[in-house]
């Protein structure tokens, strides 16, 4: 009974457990707890959006106002970075922002699972965005798209070195985008788990330490506030950077 919730390592919270195994033509596409949480995110978003827009009034009530201000936030990101030609991309950026925002916040609930704390998830997201941006760039500019790697006004003998550096930094953008989100989420949750483990161990030890177990708890409270802010901020930063990369490609600097 005492060891019911006892986990041996702080990284065990990120394990993916298969809930309903589905094997389709030798491919494993079972429903894991990660997929379950993605479905929960979808249900939460549709539930909240339907509730707030049921009586769509001219002067909004509170829930509709929250949704409208969230939409205004995302729309401002697109407008500031892409200008008027970016209106086509607003639904996609809005979906991205909403998905990451809700995913990060649901992971803050105790004992739940953060889908963005997996490198495969963030990497596939960043890679698909990167491939999409490249296709958009190639379609708008044709072969002129590769002039992205050569800034203006460069003396001729530096050109090969500069092209290599620009190309590498372009490729690394995918990795930084995904690893930023993944590392922030993983480290935050691991830290919370470790400090909660400290507090629990101190309480179990008894004596003076049992009274002092409040100290890690207060630290944990502050850290949860910080983690909440980081969760919201990382979702915002991901969408902002995607918009900036899209603008870079559409304008060629």
């Amino acid at each position: 009974m005492l060891n019911l919730n006892f986990v041996s390592s702080p990284l065990e919270q990120f394990e993916i457990v298969t809930l309903i195994p589905i094997i389709f033509k030798n491919l494993n596409i079972s429903i894991t707890n990660s997929s379950l949480y993605m479905i929960i995110i979808f249900v939460v978003i549709t539930f909240f959006s339907n509730l707030s827009l049921f009586k769509n009034s001219l002067i909004p009530n509170y829930l509709q106002f929250i949704k409208e201000s969230f939409f205004n936030l995302t729309s401002n990101i697109v407008k500031d970075n892409l200008g008027s030609k970016g209106e086509i991309y607003v639904p996609f950026i809005f979906t991205l922002h909403l998905f990451l925002f809700t995913g990060n916040l649901i992971g803050m609930v105790p004992y739940s699972f953060t889908i963005t704390s997996h490198i495969i998830f963030t990497f596939s997201l960043a890679l698909s965005i990167f491939i999409g941006i490249n296709i958009i760039g190639l379609k708008t500019h044709g072969l002129n798209f590769f002039s992205l790697f050569l800034p203006k006004g460069v003396p001729l003998f530096i050109v090969p070195l500069l092209i290599t550096i620009e190309f590498l930094s372009y490729i690394v953008k995918v990795f930084t985008l995904s690893i930023r989100l993944f590392a922030n989420m993983t480290s935050g949750h691991t830290l919370l788990k470790i400090i909660a483990g400290f507090s629990w161990t101190m309480l179990k030890a008894g004596g003076l330490l049992a009274i002092l177990h409040v100290v890690p708890l207060i630290l944990l409270l502050a850290l949860i506030g910080l983690e909440l802010a980081i969760a919201i901020l990382q979702a915002y930063v991901f969408t902002l950077l995607s918009c900036i990369y899209l603008n870079d490609v559409l304008d060629l600097h």
């Binding site: 298969t18 993605m38 549709t46 409208e68 909403l98 495969i120």
Partner: protein, 138 residues
């Protein structure tokens, strides 16, 4: 580290794409039209109100201009009435060579005094006139 197991790649990617695409379609077809409708409607209301204000303002300014022009016309006719007679009086004085302003002032003053004493209806009505035998008995 559980994130780096290879067995979990395909379920994650598959379900991620499925859920994300369905969410995108839901947002595009249901959520955003409703949300943007109220935002756009508000802007439309503000624009319509501004147009109304502009119309009312222009009508008001037109009326004001009309009133002003009428007023100026009437005042001008008034002024011409006055100064037309004043010109006649000026001509009389110049003909009689009263270019000295002191004599002119004296004449105008005597004129005013005499008209107020002897030609004013109110003063004449206030004087009681009695027959002579009643006067001598006083």
């Amino acid at each position: 580290m559980p994130q780096l197991d290879f067995i979990i790649i395909l379920p994650q990617i598959f379900w991620f794409f499925l859920i994300f695409i369905s969410l995108y379609l839901y947002v595009l077809h249901y959520f955003l039209p409703k949300l943007i409708f109220s935002l756009k409607f508000r802007k439309l209301v503000v624009k319509k109100n501004n147009l109304e204000i502009l119309k009312l303002n222009s009508a008001f300014i037109k009326q004001k201009k009309l009133l002003n022009s009428k007023l100026i016309y009437d005042l001008k006719s008034f002024k011409s009435c006055f100064f037309f007679n004043l010109k006649k009086i000026n001509n009389i004085f110049i003909k009689q060579k009263y270019s000295n302003p002191e004599i002119l002032n004296k004449k105008v003053l005597s004129f005013i005094v005499n008209t107020n004493l002897f030609c004013s209806k109110q003063i004449l009505n206030a004087i009681t006139i009695l027959p002579s035998h009643l006067n001598s008995q006083k």
